[in-house]
């Protein structure tokens, strides 16, 4: 074998290493991604051989699609609750665990059980705990015992409370993520900083405000980005918990996309919805990402 041939063989060998990954990823990830943009410009029922090119018509229709925007609002509402309630709870729990305290590991193990469960399991179990049959509803029973019997009702089949109930179950499943990331972040803060602050006469609230919070800003932004991406894409939980969009009260964008495709057989429109929503998410995470860079540079 000449030197040249050996060189070629070595190069080919290198490509063999990446070949399976590149092929599978291109075919099942990149191509659908690109194809989605192209299909978004067509009107197609998914069966017929001809696809009518309609330009930006689908996107125009999305702008006027009330069902779509309601689903975006619903997802935004769930995300808002997750960003505030869920992440504040996670932060408080992490802060409570970031000290010399007994059973720290026990708490850490327990708090991450809900996130490892699937959305289907979580949705179906909570569905039968809080709804459907009155007798089993532990929350209603507690309310009745406390004397608030007028508040006890079917939380998931009341249009007023359905979405909030979904949001709270979502928070129940998700706070463990934030908790673990916050805890990991808190543990990187050097203990000496707190001691120095104590010697300087700062109380624990001041230390929290002047040391913990500023140093945690990058972690908080990271958790916020992960929360937004995770929550805006909620789908399986809605299906299992409510069973569907409940006349629009619990519809979310991914559910709308799924219905456009499976129920109305409008594949082009479904793709356009996917593209629109994907771009919205990219913009939102980009805005959040800007926050990481700026305050992160301020060291105390």
């Amino acid at each position: 074998m000449t030197l040249n041939q050996m060189k070629i063989k070595a190069t080919l060998e290198n490509y063999v290493f990446i070949f399976p990954a590149v092929i599978i990823f291109s075919v099942f990830y990149i191509i659908p991604f690109i194809w989605m943009f192209q299909l978004g410009l067509t009107d197609w029922d998914g069966i017929s051989f001809t696809r009518a090119f309609v330009g930006l018509h689908n996107f125009k229709e999305i702008l006027q699609d009330n069902n779509w925007w309601q689903s975006v609002r619903n997802a935004g509402y769930i995300t808002l609750i997750a960003l505030t309630f869920q992440n504040i709870l996670a932060f408080m729990l992490a802060w409570a665990c970031d000290r010399e305290i007994r059973m720290k590991n026990f708490y850490r193990v327990i708090f991450f059980i809900p996130p490892v469960l699937s959305a289907v399991v979580v949705g179906l179990v909570w569905r039968f705990i809080i709804n459907d049959v009155e007798g089993a509803n532990i929350i209603n029973r507690v309310l009745v015992q406390l004397g608030f019997s007028n508040l006890a009702h079917n939380w998931l089949s009341d249009p007023k409370t359905a979405l909030t109930t979904v949001a709270l179950v979502h928070c129940w499943q998700g706070f463990g993520w934030g908790f673990l990331i916050f805890l990991a972040g808190l543990q990187t803060i050097p203990r000496e900083l707190y001691e120095a602050a104590r010697i300087d006469g700062a109380d624990s609230w001041q230390a929290f405000k002047k040391i913990t919070l500023p140093l945690m800003v990058p972690v908080i932004v990271l958790v916020a980005i992960l929360t937004v991406l995770g929550t805006m894409n909620v789908f399986a939980l809605i299906i299992s918990l409510v069973g569907g969009e409940f006349a629009g009260h619990t519809s979310v964008p991914v559910l709308r996309i799924y219905y456009s495709m499976m129920r109305s057989s409008r594949f082009g429109y479904a793709c356009a919805q996917g593209v629109t929503f994907g771009m919205m998410l990219v913009v939102i995470s980009f805005i959040q990402y800007r926050f990481i860079r700026k305050p992160g540079k301020i060291k105390c």
């Binding site: 190069t11 290198n14 490509y15 290493f17 990446i18 990954a21 599978i24 990823f25 099942f28 990830y29 191509i31 991604f33 989605m36 299909l39 729990l93 409570a96 305290i101 007994r102 059973m103 026990f106 850490r108 193990v109 327990i110 708090f111 991450f112 809900p114 469960l117 699937s118 289907v120 979580v122 179906l124 179990v125 909570w126 039968f128 705990i129 007798g135 089993a136 129940w172 463990g176 673990l180 990331i181 990991a184 990058p218 972690v219 932004v221 992960l226 894409n233 789908f235 399986a236 299992s240 964008p253 991914v254 996309i257 495709m261 594949f267 929503f277 994907g278 998410l281 990219v282 990481i292």
Partner: protein
């Protein structure tokens, strides 16, 4: 003296308040699971009437019924097969690629690596619509192999990223020694790099296993025929089709959830490490 007593009691009160807070959240985390397991042992009549967490009788035959008549046995096997195949393939394929990106020099390596990384950051809600069409064209829809290939592609980016970060930090000398001993590139990857990467390997395995076992939406659109369905989709279908037999459904849910909880409790260390490594992205 009084002062010291004051501080000590203040500390005790604060600590107990913290514990009460933590314990009440912990109870909220565990209660639904206990309710699920206990309900799976009751009868259709008592399941919603008797809400105590200690069942009056244990109907273990619910599990037998769920496994056979409910069909959960077959779906359980499907889930196991999908999970093992996908995780095994991801480990091999992504570690090969990550090793090449980290150690071997070839044209386009940077570009291809960035392709994987950018794909990880761009959210693609609804790309399942195009994927559905693609699988239809390739005649892979409603087949296990189609689902497995899709799930492999989902897990590749993150796994390549985790492996590459590890390989970048790995000392070069070990590989040089192996090369001098006449080891081929593949030999080095298999005999040197992969065994050294065991801690990352565990993170990759656990995370992908959780991901595949819990996956719902792709399985929902890919499978029409019942016999191929994994547990998650089958549960939802079981729930929707008949007047629900609640104890059987709860038994099915327990069958679905328990393996994951056991794996989690055993591999807890690696999961915590994997979650903490998400900070790398920030």
């Amino acid at each position: 003296m009084l002062n010291r007593f004051y501080y000590k009691s203040k500390k005790i009160i604060l600590n107990s308040l913290i514990h009460i807070f933590l314990i009440s959240v912990a109870i909220t985390c565990v209660y639904p699971l206990l309710w699920m397991i206990v309900s799976s042992l009751k009868t259709q009549e008592t399941i919603f009437k008797d809400i105590s967490l200690i069942p009056s009788q244990l109907r273990l035959e619910n599990y037998f019924l769920a496994w056979k008549a409910g069909g959960f046995g077959g779906h359980f096997l499907n889930s196991v097969v999908y999970t093992i195949t996908v995780v095994f393939a991801i480990v091999i394929i992504s570690s090969l690629a990550a090793y090449a990106f980290s150690r071997l020099r070839f044209k386009g390596s940077k570009l291809l690596f960035y392709m994987f990384m950018i794909a990880m950051m761009i959210p693609v809600p609804g790309s399942f619509v195009a994927l559905f069409m693609l699988l239809n064209k390739l005649h892979l829809r409603d087949t296990p192999i189609g689902y497995i290939l899709c799930m492999i592609s989902v897990g590749l980016s993150v796994s390549i990223f985790l492996f590459k970060t590890f390989f970048d930090k790995m000392p070069q000398e070990l590989e040089d020694t192996a090369r001098i001993d006449g080891c081929s590139k593949f030999g080095i990857w298999w005999h040197v790099a992969l065994p050294l990467a065991r801690p990352v390997l565990a993170v990759v395995v656990v995370f992908n296993a959780l991901n595949v076992w819990n996956e719902y939406i792709l399985a929902l659109i890919i499978f029409d025929s019942r016999r191929h369905m994994p547990l998650q989709v089958a549960l939802q279908a079981f729930q929707g089709e008949f007047v629900t037999n609640y104890p059987l459904l709860m038994a099915g849910l327990t069958i679905t959830a328990l393996p994951i909880i056991v794996v989690y409790l055993l591999m807890q260390k690696y999961i915590v490490k994997g979650v903490a490594s998400q900070e790398v992205f920030g």
